[in-house]
Point group: C2
Amino acid sequence: MNLSKVAEKLGITVDRLQSLQDTKISESSWPEPQLLRFDKEISGIEAGTVIFGNGEIVWGYPSIRRPLMLEAAIKRHFIDSVVVEEKMNGHNVRIASIDGDIVALTRGGFICPYSTEVAEKLLPEEIFEEMPGLVLCAEMVGPENPYVSSEAYPTDSIDLYLFDIAQKNRRGTLGVHKTHEIAERFGLKATAFFGEYPLKTAHERIKEIVIKLGRQGREGVVMKDPENRVAPLKYTSSESNCSDLEIAFRHYNDYALDFFLSRAVREGFQSVEWEESEEERRERARRIGESILFPLTETIKKKQQGETIAQRIQIRVKSLATARGFEYHLRRCGIRAIFDPPLPEDDGYTIGITKIIMSTNDKTEALLNGEMW
Amino acid sequence: MNLSKVAEKLGITVDRLQSLQDTKISESSWPEPQLLRFDKEISGIEAGTVIFGNGEIVWGYPSIRRPLMLEAAIKRHFIDSVVVEEKMNGHNVRIASIDGDIVALTRGGFICPYSTEVAEKLLPEEIFEEMPGLVLCAEMVGPENPYVSSEAYPTDSIDLYLFDIAQKNRRGTLGVHKTHEIAERFGLKATAFFGEYPLKTAHERIKEIVIKLGRQGREGVVMKDPENRVAPLKYTSSESNCSDLEIAFRHYNDYALDFFLSRAVREGFQSVEWEESEEERRERARRIGESILFPLTETIKKKQQGETIAQRIQIRVKSLATARGFEYHLRRCGIRAIFDPPLPEDDGYTIGITKIIMSTNDKTEALLNGEMW
């Protein structure tokens, strides 16, 4: 690797890069190609940024901030109009071609073998031949998404939706128009485009869109500047907030504490901004309460009946090497998962996976035995 | 102060005491008498333990642990029977006589001027004359409790209920029988005694008691070994858990994150242990949801209308020096409070106080203005 070239592209000195290499950047040699990962943001370089062995860089995708008061935030943040697209509920990947091989990077900058196989299957071959410098920023969604499984989208397996594009060795993304242009050109799906609205009325249309999406069990929207001049923002439906609560309370000891509070507070602000009637507010309160109590009692009863607190997921792979690779990948991410024997299918295998929710499992058992909180 | 005597009473070496004095023990010289406070538990000495200038020690009251599954915990923790008393919702103080003056210590080991005046007023003079070594462990409750105001008890001001007793310079407490004996002898109120129950059936009786207390807006119970052989445990009503949530969500940015989760999880375990019907569980979910959403929306709307997020409380004092002292005491505890001009009364003054809930106030204002979470 030519350190001085890499440092130049990152916008830091060689000395700084070398000292980071000794301390803050982790190396990952599997799966190939070998790479260096920025685990956290350092020196203004986004978390998840990756430097490959050949010196090519894929920048981390900046995290999207969330307003709680839609109207105020839109008027404050955007310039003249807002593009509204769907925020999909899956895991997002950056897909690039490195030395001729497709790799799908997770947010943290790991190559995920399963996501990589999915990308290889769903992307047309010519895309990276024609545009070798391209980085596709895409959401993977569907029931066979092993990170975030969802039935809300039109696939019975896993699908890929482009939401932005970037270029290797360059910071920043290319924004809405370029993304939909590339999607169209190569026949890729892109996240739904709901329109471009003037600042003054955007919040009203977004409210309608978000309510509709919520009813369909979908997550919410991302708001973007049409010319990519300011960073995008995100906003979610009440159903999505409550479904987050549901998942978190099902595994109440495995989630960060601010996860619980932030979802509830979102609901409070949405209820006020949308000037809900007493009845609507009571209905929302009911939804929140049930998203908390019902998964909690289910988890406790399950454990009481001697079951293990776990989550069942399923993946479909062409090659058993991908499954073995994914098993290793989950382990290095700190997730305990037990893989069923693979079931042969037309064009590969389906594999059931049991993710053990360790901490909630142990805590619930101890509390049931009369231990103190 | 005779360091070697103090160290001996604490059960540590003089060297250790001296090194703690330089690092972990804080001095408090106001109000008199001067004292040293153990801010946190160190070397097995409870947090809140206080060494007075004259060398006398008042030990911190050990915090009471909470089971989430009542039956299992009772059978596991207690020996043959359980005494059940009321857990009252106020602030607890340790009251002792030091060099002839009554002082009321907060949990953290500060002398609270207001609690001290209340204790002086409510305690019979002869108690510390007859028993100078006594430490009264008492809950102060009522609407004029400025820490935790509650209307659930039969007082329109503030009252004091004995729940345990200890002795100066001695570790440990004297337990149920001695406490009620002293209360009777000196005409003091003590926390309600609900009975002594065998291990096997105690949880059934406690369930009935807790449900009844909850309906009255009261907090719950403390379970004690009749002979004080093992530590007490506490258990609270659903109404108390939800009222905690209500207060916390009203001031959602001023509470520790685990406060929110722990209350919800208590509700989950109680619902399972009490084998609630679907309808009862739905009703509990509704209660939880409303305890979260309603105070949140009230706080947001209040701020939207330009009001300051604050809490109004009231105290009644004999002397204005007590009020000034209490103002200083709140400030050193990190609480921002604005005192109204005192209103003269029969035998002293009533003073309205506005406690500013700083962090929630600022955060809500920022979010309303379109800032991100």
